[in-house]
Amino acid sequence: MHGYELKRAYDQRLPQVRPLAFGQVYATLGRLLRDGLVASTGPERLTGPDRTAYSLTKDGRVTLERWLGTVEPPMPYVNSALFAKVVVALLVVDVEQARAYLIAQRQAHTDRLRELTALKTAPSATVDEVVAADYAIAHLDADLRWLRTTLERVADWHREVRA
């Protein structure tokens, strides 16, 4: 596969994922080549990087399968700017600041949820798009539940944080 084909497959198969720059594709291929996980095939190399085709080596295949077989740790840390902002607002400012932030964030999340729902319910939506939108929707939905319960608890929480 050529670099531009990889880039195209990435864009097509992983919609809604952080976009990938061409530079990153070649930098990554360079590292994989160095580590012997891919091999460049064909003599086309002379005509520029875009002409080079790459394929997985045996080592590359083994590494790929190991990665696929590894379970991701399910949320070892609460790693979210949302959570951090509320705590900092409660510590440094006051309940109203925390609440104003939560309300604004809830609005932004709701707007995005509606956009993604429109995307996935459009008659032209592909399965790739539906699956990607579902992933994002489920996470936004979880955040929204948290925003809602936190809005109700923020006063109690403030007392505890400040105590």
Binding site: V95, R99, I103, R106, Q107, T110, L113, R114, L116, T117, T121, P123, I137, D141, L144, R145, R148, L151, E152, A155, D156, H158, R159
Partner: protein
């Protein structure tokens, strides 16, 4: 003039106030979600808008005509033609097959048997349950029954569909499939939908969300049980 309007709706059940002064407009083809905590008056509002309940005060108008003052017979005729209703549990007639259930509103409106049966089968097909046409509700799963009920609610091509937690009894995947179909078909025929739900991801199917709290529209859009000011709880 193709609009549903409510002005100053008030409704109590004995001493329990359920709606206090609700005013809203729903445009042709508009999909509106009504959300809010349990007991805030969502179902009562839907029943008043659909002409099932009469408000104690206020007005409901459809295309410029007040309908809350109409007789029960006139309101129920409206519910068989321009309005459609769909509840959490399908409310299918147990003695009739799926196709007979879906054909029923058409037969009541005077459509011939053969044409009604054809339309019913067509709608069952659109909701993906064509193979259950000759099966009675008792032999269908909850999701299949709800698809059948959705077909029955849409078969008359109503101008407004009132849906009270239509997917509330279904698992997430089935609920989403039913809702996706419902919204797609409603948009196709420009049927307005009043969709009651307490789930943000379901409300996201709508063009607009109305949040109720304690029987009134909550302009903060939060529907929280706690008062926003005053803090301590």
């Amino acid at each position: 003039m193709t609009k549903l309007e409510a002005r100053g709706l008030v409704k109590s059940y004995g001493p329990t106030p359920a709606l206090r002064d609700v005013t809203l407009d729903i445009d042709e083809g508009e999909i509106v979600a009504v959300t809010g905590p349990s007991g805030c008056g969502k179902s009562t509002l839907l029943h008043c808008l659909a002409g099932i309940l009469r408000p104690d005060a206020g007005e409901v108008s459809w295309r410029g005509h007040r309908i809350d003052t109409w007789s029960e017979a006139a309101r129920s005729r409206l519910r068989r033609t321009e309005f459609g209703v769909l509840f959490q549990f399908g409310q299918l007639v147990a003695e009739l097959t799926a196709a007979e259930n879906v054909a029923l509103p058409l037969l009541l409106a005077g459509t011939g048997r053969r044409a009604a049966r054809a339309a019913a089968c067509d709608w069952l097909e659109r909701l993906g349950v064509a193979e259950y046409a000759d099966v009675r509700p008792g032999e269908m799963s909850g999701g299949q029954q709800q698809r059948c009920a959705t077909a029955r609610a849409l078969v008359t091509e109503p101008r407004v569909l009132f849906a009270d937690e239509p997917t509330g009894a279904l698992d997430t995947v089935t609920g989403e499939q039913v809702l996706t179909q419902l919204v797609r078909l409603a948009r196709q025929q420009r049927t307005a939908v009043v969709l009651i739900t307490h789930e943000p991801r379901i409300a996201a199917y709508a063009d607009r969300e109305i949040v109720l709290r304690d029987g009134a529209i909550d302009h903060t859009g939060l529907g929280l049980d706690a008062p926003l000011s005053g803090g301590a709880r």
